[in-house]
């Protein structure tokens, strides 16, 4: 069991800032994802929690006590890597038992522990087999079993599923989540795949260029991104972004699309932006939070023509060209506008965002 606190961590490699002023408070028993593109500092952060790297400045505390000087072997963390470290000459059983055997645990206890772990992971029938013959999927389970058995306070997983095929990855997502709930251990999961982070984690820390961009639940980062980066990184369809000029006029707050043929978008009813200064902003809304309407509809925000229709089965994506802008709208499979058709796009009033020129979201 462990509550982990990162307090104003900096990590420099030579002159490269890998992590800058990072503070996180990871509650005991929670499932946390560190999410970001490659080079964002997520793996460095994990390595510092593990004890593989020492922060340049700042404190790491586990259960309130500083662990910066505690070597990796004494931190009681479990690891699963992308390239699972497995002894190929040993059987699955011996691999899983390894961590306990080097700790000189009596054989009977080791045996009980291995079977308990194997049962959790549903790999009991494979225990006696050499690992060479195992599938990639089963190998990953053995690797998880190996780090699980020493009963670590914290589990660290570094993109453990990236070698698995898509179907099994989806399955393992569910499995890992179930496992975490049953074990009740703190789990920190590093990934660049927003879908993995969203579907498994209770809290997500989104990092970019070594800096924390947002810390929140999956719903929070999806519905209220703190800045342009988060808005663009989370979600399986890119957010629609429009450069707008914001104006307080006689009709209330109005946005004028810079690229989209200077169309006017009335935001009068949006009290949350009532005190915003006039000026240039980026207006963003998700394809899932918009709908297609008739161009004459009162609710219409932008008018354009259909430039592309992607029929994906359970939903369709309609691309609407508004001058030189291209907007995406997710619709039901029954909505199949023809190419070149004039349509209106209306976005949900409570679920759009304004970003200022530094990319920060206005609340």
């Amino acid at each position: 069991m462990a509550q982990i606190e990162l307090d104003r961590i900096d990590k420099l490699f030579g002159k490269v800032e890998a992590v800058v002023d990072l503070s996180l408070d990871i509650p005991d028993g929670s499932f946390v994802a560190l999410l970001g593109p490659s080079g964002c500092g997520k793996t460095t952060t994990m390595n510092m929690i593990a004890g593989l790297e020492v922060p340049s400045t700042g404190e790491i505390r586990m259960n309130g006590a500083s662990v910066v000087d505690v070597p990796i072997g004494k931190r009681n963390v479990g690891f699963v890597f992308q390239n699972y470290a497995i002894f190929t000459k040993l059987t699955a059983y011996e691999n899983i038992a390894y961590g306990l055997r080097v700790r000189k645990m009596p054989a009977a206890e080791v045996d009980a522990a291995v079977h308990r772990v194997a049962k959790l992971l549903d790999i009991e029938p494979l225990l006696g087999r050499g690992v060479r013959g195992l599938s990639v999927n089963d190998l990953q389970k053995v690797a998880i079993g190996r780090s699980m058995i020493v009963n670590p306070d914290v589990f660290l997983l570094d993109e453990p599923f990236s070698n698995l095929d898509a179907g099994f990855r989806a399955f393992m997502r569910t499995e890992l989540k179930r496992l975490q709930r049953e074990l009740g251990q703190t789990m920190i999961y590093v990934t660049h795949d927003q879908l993995e982070a969203m579907s498994m984690a209770e809290h997500i820390a989104i990092l970019d260029r070594g800096r924390l961009q947002q810390w929140g639940t999956p719903e929070e980062v999806f519905d209220s991104p703190s800045n342009l980066f988060v808005g663009g990184f989370v979600g399986s369809n890119p957010m629609n972004l429009i450069d707008v000029g914001l104006q307080h006029s006689g009709f209330g707050l109005v946005a004028r699309a810079v690229d989209g043929g200077h169309q006017l978008i009335a935001l009068a009813a949006e009290r949350r932006f009532a005190t915003t200064n006039d000026g240039l902003y980026k207006l963003g809304f998700r394809p899932e939070h918009a709908r297609l309407v008739s161009p004459e509809d009162d609710a219409v925000d932008l008018r354009g023509t259909v430039s592309l229709l992607e029929e994906l089965g359970p939903r369709n994506i309609v691309h609407v060209g508004v001058d030189n802008l291209s907007l995406r709208v997710v619709v039901l499979p029954s909505v199949r506008p023809t190419m070149g058709e004039r349509v209106g796009v209306a976005f949900e009033r409570t679920k759009f965002h304004l970003f200022d020129d530094s990319g920060l979201a206005l609340i």
Partner: protein, 382 residues
């Protein structure tokens, strides 16, 4: 006319049958996607068309000419490799110009330069012409690789999972660009992918390949609504379709599909004979996750399932349910907080359901037909 025709093509590597009697006809200017899991033989298929592999049996025709034995450079086919295979020592301009230099008769330097610029403009990589591949981003490299394939005027272009290494969002962007590109090119395109969303989005027709065999060739909508077999239904859709094993039972002359907790009745007439033949072996009911309705959406359904896990994806939420020891996935709108271990009413929209026979072949696809009826409760013991 530059169609591509494969006739009974087979290819074996040692003990692996990569292609097993594949016959395909890709029409002139069609966007044709080959979809399948890793190891399905997709890449071998592409390599046979371009001439990097020679089939053990069968013929490959391009534009009506048998090219089975000819060299790749002589086939008027361009390709974008999965790992791009840019020449790392050459600048973008030289990468693009390389195929032109190999052409005979070789175009003049001015002609080559003009063509390279034209392609660079088309793909919006003009500012990068003097850079080397190592100094490009993933998306830029992708464009250069596509440009190198397009720079020579071929009849057919092949794409081998060209987007697989890009970040998810970039993939979505490039997908739309490719679709626009194909419309401007007016060429025959054959596109290999393991991502069904890519295939659905891009293709005029999709060919599902598995185990070296063609499973089905048809339009994206058709393949989603009327899969030829269980494998095709499983390949298309994310999360994959729920497959529930059912017994075929006859009571008082009434045929039904039975399961420990549910029964499917009112089977359409056309399905009765094939299902009767499955009385011993059983059939499989296929219900897509988006056709599984929960809580309030389930209405007054008497079927109740335990929630195992909840995966919020943002625009939608996957809920894992337990149905008699089996995991059923439901794709639901966000906004409702489901908790693990709570029991929820569950209903199936059988208007999109499928019934598969023992060999996996589709016996019935509802495709909007609402005649199937779901009964809840253990079937009477006989």
């Amino acid at each position: 006319m530059t169609d591509v025709r494969l006739d009974h093509v087979s290819k074996r590597f040692g003990s692996i049958q990569a292609l097993d009697d594949v016959s395909l006809h890709v029409a002139h200017q069609e966007f044709f996607c080959v979809l399948g899991p890793p190891g399905a033989g997709k890449t071998t298929l592409l390599r046979s068309i371009i001439g990097l592999e020679h089939p053990d049996a069968g013929t490959v025709e391009i534009g009506g000419h048998d090219v089975t034995g000819s060299e790749p450079g002589k086939r008027s086919v361009g390709i974008v490799f999965q790992n791009l295979a840019l020449y790392p020592d050459k600048t973008v301009a030289k990468n693009l110009g390389f195929p032109l230099r190999q052409q005979s008769p070789r175009p003049s330097a001015a002609e080559r330069d003009a063509r390279v610029r034209e392609i660079a403009r088309l793909l919006r990589i003009e500012p990068l012409l003097n850079r080397r591949p190592a100094h490009l981003s993933g998306g830029e490299r992708q464009r250069v690789a596509i440009g190198r394939a397009l720079v020579r005027l071929h009849d057919v272009y092949l794409f081998d999972e060209p987007l697989s290494a890009l970040d998810a969002l970039l993939r979505v962007e490039m997908r739309a660009e490719l679709k626009h590109l194909q419309r401007n090119l007016e060429k025959t395109l054959i596109y290999v992918t393991h991502d069904h969303v890519e295939a659905m989005s891009l293709a005029d027709r999709i060919c599902v390949l598995a185990g070296g065999r063609v499973q089905q060739v048809t339009s994206p909508q058709e393949i989603y609504r009327r899969p030829a077999n269980k494998l095709v239904a499983w390949t298309i859709g994310s999360p994959p379709i729920n497959l529930i094993e059912m017994n075929v039972v006859e009571n008082d002359g009434q045929l039904s599909l039975d399961h420990a907790e549910i029964r499917i009745g009112s089977l359409p007439d056309g399905t009765l004979d094939p299902l009767r033949a499955l009385m011993g072996s059983g059939a499989t009911l296929g219900v897509r996750p988006e056709a599984v309705m929960l809580g309030r959406d389930a209405g007054d359904s008497r079927l109740a399932c335990r929630v195992i896990a909840v995966e919020p994806l943002g625009p939608e939420t996957i809920v894992d349910l337990e149905l008699h020891g089996q995991v059923i996935k439901a794709l639901t709108p966000p906004g409702v907080a489901y908790r693990p271990d709570e029991r929820l009413p569950v209903a199936f929209d059988l208007g999109t359901a499928h019934i598969f026979g023992g060999d996996g072949a589709t016996v019935y696809s509802a495709d909007g037909d609402q005649s199937l009826v779901l009964h809840v409760g253990a079937p009477p013991n006989e």
